[in-house]
């Protein structure tokens, strides 16, 4: 009888623990990873670990993509957030889908060579500094060179 009572008590406690942990986990996980390609990392209590297809994501989880990788965070309400290479995103809620889609941020600087337009500094570099550097360097290089491959004939 005592054993049965103990077993009942144990089972009851287990059910209580499960009930407490289950809903908490369910409520904190609000999205999942989808279309994972390449090195996608997800924050855990011990730091970053590889993110996998279908992985559930709790509020506060950081998702990081590395170069040549991308992923989507799909919220349970159907909202999709796309992550391009070298971006990070922290899972949040309480924002509109449009606002969430704007949250991923680049972690590395944008390539200056691609985004820049010709500023005064750039033109100064192109028109003054580079030619000056080239002229000085060429004179020195040609002066030093004593092992020609071209014959004057």
């Amino acid at each position: 009888m005592r054993i049965a009572a103990a077993l009942f008590l144990l089972a009851f406690q287990c059910a209580q623990v499960t009930a407490a942990a289950g809903p908490a986990a369910e409520t904190s996980a609000v999205a999942k990873l989808k279309d994972v390609k390449g090195g996608v990392l997800v924050s855990k209590t011990s730091g970053l670990a590889a993110g996998t297809e279908g992985m559930r994501l709790a509020v506060g989880t950081r998702v990081i993509t590395t170069s040549d990788s991308h992923a989507q965070v799909v919220y349970d309400d159907g909202c999709h957030v796309s992550l391009e290479p070298n971006q990070r995103f922290q899972v949040e809620r309480g924002r509109t889908c449009e606002a969430l889609a704007l949250l991923p941020e680049s972690i590395v600087p944008a390539p200056a060579a691609v985004t820049a337009s010709a500023t005064g500094t750039q033109l100064f570099v192109q028109d003054v500094m580079v030619p000056a550097l080239a002229a000085v360097g060429i004179a020195e290089l040609l002066r030093r060179h004593d092992d020609r491959a071209v014959s004057p004939n």
Partner: protein, 394 residues
């Protein structure tokens, strides 16, 4: 009569040869036609042009003569003809060092950097002595942010010199943000070298750009190493330390100088196959045997691990510390520290709390010898560590 004609013809040819050689080479036999401004001065310039044009009529494939002519035309203000002469030189000798340098220089002087870049690339790829100058010019062009297509073409081809260019430019203090796009393309192909990664990450770290530093380091890791990055990377010491980025940085100085040696070796009772072993020689300690930069977000953590001291004596032992890293990689006082490891014991778990304040953007985890005062520290014995893990409290 025939003999007289032969003698006259020989004399003319000899004069031509002397004249041409005097024009193209200096007294030491080095080419002087382009480099020497004196050769371009005064009336000699026109005469030189005549000789050069004659040479080219005889041998239209003489690249050096084209260069000389181009130089003289340029000095005479005849830019379009000079450009044609430079183009002709490149056409007949597209891999010649002086042709590449001269033609690229002419294009750069004309602001035609997109056309100059491939030539500069060929020059630095094939001629080591051109690299210092060529890299300086390439760095200026890259910094200007102009000609992205030409750069993209170079990066796409990923020539052998590109890694050297990234490393050399980084070491010379070029903004790592400018080099990052090149590095990332190379990293994605698995082509980025340890030296490139180390320099860029270190410079980003030193300038307080920890997020970018950490990301660049992540990008340099092979895919399989991304499976379990953790807050402490390779806390099980199963993989060799790279010594760069956010990996373990073991002291590589000689044991007789540092007073300690470091290795990741097999041992009994450790988790996995390997553990960290620090052997203290009993001599005066210089520096720390091993450290790792961390990029912990603000919050509270627990750092735990396994430790096994073996006859650690002749001092007060050693301890793990976490310090904040400030501008220029200056270290703060410890923000957290373990108990000291001394004496002998079997494997035992240890743990200590780590609190990271919002202003502490980057940290250094290191094994420090315990000092009793300001004097030198002596340590003897072995310290083993395994399974170091940092976990965040929620």
């Amino acid at each position: 009569m025939t003999r007289a004609w032969i003698a006259l013809a020989s004399a003319v040819l000899l004069w031509r040869a002397i004249a041409v050689n005097a024009l193209l080479y200096d007294e030491d036999g080095r080419p002087a036609v382009v480099a020497s401004p004196r050769a371009l001065e005064g009336n000699a310039r026109d005469a030189d042009r005549g000789v050069l044009e004659a040479i080219l009529r005889e041998n239209p494939a003489n690249a050096l003569a084209y260069l000389g002519l181009a130089s003289r035309l340029q000095a005479a203000g005849e830019a379009p003809r000079a450009a044609r002469a430079f183009a002709a030189a490149y056409e007949v000798a597209p891999t010649d060092r002086d042709v590449l340098v001269s033609v690229a220089g002419n294009l750069l002087a004309a602001g035609r950097t997109s056309e100059a870049l491939p030539l500069l690339g060929t020059a630095v790829e094939n001629y080591a002595d051109v690299r210092e100058w060529g890299f300086a010019v390439l760095a200026q062009v890259l910094s200007s942010g102009l000609d992205p297509k030409a750069w993209n073409a170079i990066v796409e081809r990923d020539p052998a010199w590109l890694g050297d260019f990234v490393r050399a430019s980084c070491r010379k203090g070029m903004d790592p943000a400018v080099l990052a796009p090149l590095f990332l393309r190379r990293a994605a192909k698995g082509a980025a070298s340890r030296e490139e990664t180390g320099c860029l990450v270190q410079r980003l770290r030193a300038s307080g750009r920890w997020d970018e530093a950490y990301q660049l380091w992540l990008d340099s890791l092979p895919r399989e190493r991304l499976a379990d990055v953790g807050f402490v990377f390779n806390g099980g010491f199963e993989f060799p330390a790279s010594g760069i980025g956010f990996d373990w940085i073991p002291d590589t100085s000689l044991e007789r100088d540092s007073g300690h040696g470091v290795e990741f070796s097999r041992t009994r009772g450790a988790t996995g196959e390997r553990a960290l072993r620090v052997a203290y020689t009993g001599k005066r300690q210089s520096g720390v045997p091993i450290a790792q930069y961390l990029s912990l977000p603000p919050g509270r953590y627990s750092l735990s691990g396994l430790a096994r001291p073996e006859r650690v004596s002749a001092g007060h032992g050693a301890r793990w510390t976490v310090r904040c890293v400030g501008p220029g990689e200056a270290l703060s006082e410890p923000v957290a520290a373990s108990d000291r490891f001394v004496g002998s014991s079997d494997w035992e778990r240890f743990a200590f709390d780590v609190a990271i304040a919002p202003g502490c953007r980057g940290q250094l985890l290191q094994l420090e010898p315990m000092a009793s005062g300001a004097g030198p520290v002596f340590l003897a014995g072995n310290l083993w560590f395994d399974n170091l893990v940092l976990e965040q409290y929620h």
